[in-house]
Amino acid sequence: MLARNLIGASALAIAAALAGSAHAEGKALKVGYVTGLTGACAPISEDGLNGAKLAVKDLNAAGGILGRPVELVVRDSQTKPEEGGKQARELAAAEGIEMLTGVCSSAVLLAVNAVAAEFKIPHVAMIGSTQKANIEAFNPYFVQTQANATMEAFAAAEYVAKKTDWKRITPMGFDYEWGHTSVDAFTSRLKELRPDIEIAAPVFTKVGEANMGPYITAALANQPDAIFAAVFGGGLVSLIKQGQSFGMFQKSNLVTLLTVDTLQSMGDAMPKEKVYGIGRAPFFALDQGAELSAFIEDYRAAYNEYPTDWAINGYDAMMFYAQAAKAAGSAEADPVMAAFAGSSFDGLKAKGLTMRPFDGQMNAPAYVGEVNFDPAYPFPTMKNVEKFDGAALMFSEETIQAMRDAAK
């Protein structure tokens, strides 16, 4: 009898301890986090997850969402669409998740988005971006919290158009969907803005190409004033390092995606000038406020490095969701989606962000600046960073409708 009481008592104690550790009443709100922890996306995915984890910590410290503790259920998509889709399906069917996020690769994004539509679960995109998700593959449960690939390329075109002494441009890109979409969008917008600019035939390389030499020579063969390169990660590091040996920064300029992780990878190997970068959320160029400083401090304390664009996007995506769910007073999909559309969000990357329900696109800004060496940081940053308002980069609803009709 005594033994049984003891067991009962300790079971109660354990249950109490468990409930106490979550320190919020109610059932946990599970967030399905499908991301490429292995495969090509791994470096980026890890940063995004670190940001999201900090958001969950902050949310739970403040009592969770609607009094419910938030719990991330993390799954590895291996950066493969089939695997990502399978993981998302399993989370939706068996784990009772109420939100999906975290996806990195654009191909995986489309697979996960299809699952979100099927199970009617809000899908908040934070790393992966493809305009397909806004256009032909759109569904009413999709939210894109950053400038998509097209918007980013438009921002680059706007920036390049202002360089009046640039007359010839060669576009480069990775030979897959994102690379082609970016190159096409950049080329079309730049032609509109600057009919006098000569744009050479684009040079495409395989994703992650390590020996960029041959492609650099081919790109420089057109004697461009600037090269626009839709490449990232290791391929981009190779492009910049090898470019220096080919006189790329004597003969030309480079405009490319420079997120904080790439700036960190490059380190001292970054040329001192003639490199221009597009960022999604460069922490050093954002509107400095108490929240941003606190986040940077927390992030550095937790992970011993500066937050990359992906970490900030991960944090913002979770917080945007939390705000919508609180405003809706429920985690049910339809009220949350309505709340997304109706609310203005002050994130770390920008203030006054709203989501357009027509295509799920947030008016997230894109940042373009030139490389800088600031002694305050152990890696290159950017100066004269221009913030391009997301609303001006988004396709109009009519254009999207026309594109949707054309895709049918």
């Binding site: 495409f204 390590a210 030499g213 041959p214 390092k241 040996s245």
Partner: protein, 290 residues
């Protein structure tokens, strides 16, 4: 322009050869297709990344010392793998061998990720090798030249050893007829181990030499292994000179191709391989492939 592309092509070809030569030597002697060869290359790059800052950073001598030490480190790891695991499956069917080398791919990948993380890392180029030789309006990058020359030195040493030393004679004997070599009292095990160690060393220094040119990341293993296999197929697996010719062919085709057929340069390489395969892989030396 075309001359610059030639330099590009020669360097890439040399890198490919250093990797493919180990692959082909190991296959020639032990009939093992070592899928982990790309992982050894990647490991060489990471060890160089770790060693360069320790040994006289920024100097050419320091860089090459780091590369050779990295090569030795990779050779040690390769030897351990051969002795502890591979040795047990020489007689087994090829599926078993496949599984065991692929297992090593995963092990190395996870260990590397655990130690160095998933982000791209950058090995600084020695100051003296940075920059370019400017002739007229054309920039000839210095680094690929030097890497090509260093690679040539390695090739010369390798061919010298194989042709003129007792070790080389034993190696050729074991490649030609393993059974006969064993009957004559040659220690087969020693040869297998030595070849695996040498192949690992070559992959390791290739990874180290290429490291400052691009970025260092844990996905280099698969990036490089596919091209290395293509080279081996073109040259005939087990054929060292074939691998040399194949590597240069692939490197130069890729570089020159991108200038004239930008959309086709990747396809060209596979086309060459397909043609060689269809022509029933006689190898480039004219003998039937083994």
């Amino acid at each position: 322009m075309i001359w610059v592309q030639l330099v590009n092509g020669l360097m890439e070809g040399m890198m490919l050869f250093l990797i493919a030569s180990g692959l082909t030597l190991i296959f020639g002697v032990s009939r093992i297709v070592n899928f982990a060869h790309g992982s050894l290359y990647m490991l060489g790059a990471f060890l160089t990344y770790a060693l360069v800052p320790v040994i006289a950073p920024g100097t050419v001598a320091g860089f090459f010392a780091a590369v050779i030490l990295a090569g030795i480190g990779v050779a040690a790891i390769g030897t351990a793998f051969e002795v502890l695991a591979l040795r047990r499956v020489y007689g087994a069917d090829s599926l078993m061998q496949l599984i065991i080398t692929i297992a090593l791919v995963f092990v190395i990948r996870d260990v590397v990720r655990w130690i160095w993380g998933a982000n791209s890392l950058s090995v600084p180029m020695p100051d003296a090798l940075m920059g370019a030789l400017v002739i007229g309006d054309t920039y000839f990058p210095v680094f690929p030249f030097v890497i090509f020359a260093a690679g040539l030195a390695v090739v010369a040493a390798m061919i010298g050893v194989i042709r003129f030393t007792r070790t080389g004679i034993l190696l050729r004997a074991a490649t030609d007829d393993r059974g006969m070599a064993a009957l004559l009292g040659i220690n087969e095990r020693m040869i297998f181990t030595a070849v695996f160690a040498a192949g690992s060393f070559l992959a390791g220094i290739a990874g180290g030499m290429a490291a400052p040119w691009g970025d260092v990341n844990y996905l280099l293993d698969t990036t490089v292994i596919v091209s290395a296999f293509i080279v081996c197929v073109i040259g005939g697996l087990g054929n060292l000179y074939g691998a040399l010719a194949g590597a240069m062919l692939v490197g130069i085709t890729k570089a020159v191709g991108v200038l004239y057929f930008p959309r086709l340069s990747m396809v060209l390489i596979f086309l060459i391989m397909a043609v060689v395969l269809v022509a029933r892989s006689l190898g480039r030396q004219g003998g039937p492939a083994r």
